[in-house]
């Protein structure tokens, strides 16, 4: 239930982020026991490179606390959509915070908004939509893969978000977003292999007073076809972009400063104190606080295509 609002202490059933390092975080469920493959109920022990954690021990602990592991320690953090996208079980390729942030901003999602999303996928974006629109809005999220829809529905429930979301198992390209959703949406988001097929359904789902549209697609041809349909249906403010986040690697670097001046003077002129003293002198080092890019950066996530459905476009 730890996704609903900020809370201070871990309660049983919370999802908790066990933070070991920037590159090692795990989402664990704060339950004292689990059922193993043989069907036996056993104590919930979580293994980490720094030793094991008896999960029961963290229940009641304050979020942000340090917890001891058998060979080290970790911190327990309250989950939120950012930490969740970094730890969630991947059922599909997911969208990350930089793109998601732009999607929320461009779709103008705020408390009270009604958002239609397809597909649900691993639910990373859904969690963001839910944070942004609760407690007064609603998310309608669709996936054509039945198991994924079921998993997502279950997850939202365990996260305390069930009141604000409806999960549908449905092929929206062919069947649309159900007629109940005609004209209810402030915003529609598509992450589909053929977004152009779903644009007419998005058009129907948006309010008569207008709304915002977004499609995320890895390939430029998907955006091209999508824009083609958007234009025909009377969308405007059509805009495509990509957002790539770069992380800076910060470290202190030292550089030897070499002396070349002494070469101008003949050695013989300083018979004693020359060479040996030079080589024995400690190397002069200059220190710099530096930042640089990591060796590998994300070069592409997807193209974001945004559009506005203006008010009062007749929906035939």
């Amino acid at each position: 239930m730890s996704f609903l609002k900020p809370k201070t202490h871990i309660e049983q059933g919370d999802i908790v982020i066990l933070y070991l390092s920037v590159n090692s975080m795990h989402a664990i469920e704060a339950v004292p026991t689990i059922v193993n493959k043989k069907g036996e109920t056993i104590a919930h022990i979580f293994q980490t490179p720094y030793g094991s954690l008896k999960v029961q021990s963290i229940i009641g602990v304050e979020y942000g606390s340090r917890v001891e592991l058998s060979k080290g320690y970790a911190h327990v953090l309250q989950p939120n959509p950012e930490l969740w996208t970094q730890t969630l079980p991947h059922r599909t390729q997911i969208i990350y915070t930089p793109d998601i942030s732009m999607i929320l901003h461009q779709l103008e999602v705020r408390p009270g908004a009604v958002v239609v999303e397809s597909g649900t996928g691993s639910g990373s974006l859904s969690h963001y939509f839910l944070r942004a629109l609760k407690p007064t809005g609603h998310l309608h999220t669709f996936d054509f893969h039945e198991a994924r829809a079921d998993q997502a529905r279950d997850e939202f429930k365990r996260h305390g978000l069930a009141d604000f979301v409806t999960v549908y198992h449905r092929d929206v390209c062919n069947l649309g977003f159900t007629s109940e959703l005609d004209g209810v949406a402030d915003a529609v988001f598509l992450d589909l292999p053929a977004p152009d097929l779903a644009v007419p359904h998005a058009f129907k789902a948006l309010k008569l007073s207008g709304g915002r549209f977004c499609s995320f697609s890895p390939c430029i041809e998907q955006s091209q076809r999508c824009i083609n349909v958007l234009t025909k249906l009377g969308f405007n403010e059509i805009c495509s972009m990509e957002v790539l986040q770069q992380e800076s690697v910060i470290k202190t670097r030292s550089f030897p400063v070499i002396d070349l001046e002494f070469l101008k003077a003949p050695k013989s002129s300083e018979p004693n104190a020359n060479d040996d003293s030079k080589t024995k002198e400690p190397k002069e080092l200059k220190k710099y606080l530096t930042s640089s890019n990591p060796q590998v950066l994300p070069g592409h996530t997807g193209f974001l295509t945004f559009a506005t459905l203006p008010p009062n476009v007749p929906k035939a």
Partner: protein, 432 residues
């Protein structure tokens, strides 16, 4: 659809150009380049409406004629593609035979100026220009389109009136003068909202030294109407910049949940407020003027130093008498500071270290901290400091690369120019 009312901020859009404007009175005019628009006919029309600019008079100005227009509400049918109207058919295969010697247009500029005064419709003006162009029909279709777009932009006679949103204002502010919003680009703004976790639940702390109100407005927008979230908005000046906040026209209860306070004043209240102390309510506190909700421009916010008390004492000799609005706000803020916050956002023009040192203890554990800055070197230093003290974990210093694309049949490519600076975000989570 909401209705345009007196006192509203409105967004005026002419093709891709947008502008934020206060519709303060019935004789208000808006200026778009050389065009001056009388706004009075907007009253009580729905937002989203399109108006036609009708020339009323034209005065010679330094850089060509300045025109005064009235606005007439128009129908969707009036808005149609210039290309359809002109019905251009013949186009050359490429531009090999075109030499650009500046003599392609046989109309003189005085002719064009006169035509413009006589004729309201850009399509007619452009039609004339095309008729009198010696090279237009030899150009490629692409080149013809480019020419028409350029001319359309110049003579386009329609404006749309839209209701301000964070999205529209972030674009306007960044395009007009990124310095006035500390260079916070749209991608960065969107990430500040994400990383800080602003939502309908929780109490949030913001320090900013001047973004035209964009940052508190974006946060308040994400907190929503009718929710329990509260924002303490600290600023270094006498009065906070609130333009974007006012433009959103939020419900009163929501506005009330933005507590804007002077950094120095509220810290003194927080550190010393509950102590029985003789000099407390006299002396230095009055220097902060009451927060007014009238329009505040960027210039009114001072430079990040506590204003000297002497001057203000002269200005407000009666300040001892009653609790002023700013005192009430300080007390509300201090109460929340004692409870601690669910997130901290900083966007300082000053060196952020001492401010962070003062505000970080006010944040609960396991809560996000987001520090925006235009100078990477400063944030590197803070990164190292925080890493050393271990008070904040999961530290990341990031910036963004954002490119927009032109997607048109056979002419798809990233836009030729892009914004070079997204600013930098230092993010992390507090520990117990």
């Amino acid at each position: 659809m909401a209705i345009i009312q007196l006192g509203d901020y409105i967004v005026i859009q002419r093709q891709k150009y947008t502008k934020l404007q206060k519709f303060g009175s019935l004789d208000a005019t808006a200026t778009l380049g050389k065009e001056h628009l009388e706004l009075k006919s907007l009253l009580d029309q729905p937002y989203g409406s399109t108006f036609k600019m009708c020339v009323k008079e034209s005065k010679a100005g330094k850089r060509g004629a300045q025109r005064q227009h009235s606005l007439e509400l128009c129908t969707e049918n009036e808005l149609r593609s210039i290309r359809d109207v002109l019905n251009i058919s013949s186009s050359g295969a490429d531009n090999r035979d075109i030499s650009d010697n500046g003599e392609a247009q046989s109309l003189k500029s005085s002719d064009i100026e006169q035509m413009r005064e006589e004729c309201n419709e850009s399509s007619k003006i452009i039609e004339k220009l095309v008729e009198n162009s010696k090279t237009f029909h030899n150009r490629t279709e692409y080149s013809q389109d480019k020419y028409l777009l350029k001319k359309e932009k110049k003579y386009f006679e329609f404006v749309q009136i839209r209701q301000p949103t964070i999205r529209l204002m972030a674009d306007i502010f960044h395009r007009q003068d990124p310095d006035k919003i500390m260079g916070i680009r749209v991608d960065t703004l969107s990430q500040i909202i994400s990383y800080s976790g602003i939502s309908g639940f929780g109490n949030y702390l913001l320090y900013e030294s001047g973004t035209n109100g964009l940052l508190p407005a974006a946060m308040l927008n994400s907190m929503g109407a009718g929710t329990e979230a509260t924002l303490v908005h600290m600023h270094p000046g006498n009065v906070p910049q609130k333009q974007a906040l006012l433009a959103l026209k939020l419900p009163f209860e929501q506005q009330q949940r933005c507590i804007s306070v002077n950094l120095y004043s509220v810290l003194r209240e927080f550190y010393q407020g509950d102590k029985p102390e003789a000099t407390k309510s006299s002396g230095d506190e009055e220097k902060v003027e009451a927060v007014t909700e009238t329009e505040v421009t960027a210039e009114e916010q001072s430079e990040g130093f506590e204003p000297s008390s002497k001057k203000v004492k002269l200005e407000s000799p009666n300040s001892n008498k009653a609790h002023q609005r700013w005192q009430v706000e300080n007390k509300r803020a201090a109460a929340l500071m004692n409870e601690k916050f669910d997130s901290l956002v900083m966007a300082a023009k000053e060196h952020p270290s001492s401010i962070l040192q003062a505000l970080l203890p006010l944040v609960k554990p396991s809560r996000p901290v987001v520090i925006f800055g235009t100078c990477k070197e400063l944030l590197q230093e803070i990164y190292m400091d925080l890493k050393t003290t271990g008070k904040v974990t999961n530290l990341h210093l990031t910036s963004n690369w954002m490119r927009t694309y032109q997607i048109l049949p056979n002419r798809t490519h990233p836009e030729v120019n892009m914004s070079g600076n997204s600013g930098y975000l230092l993010t992390g989570y507090t520990l117990k």
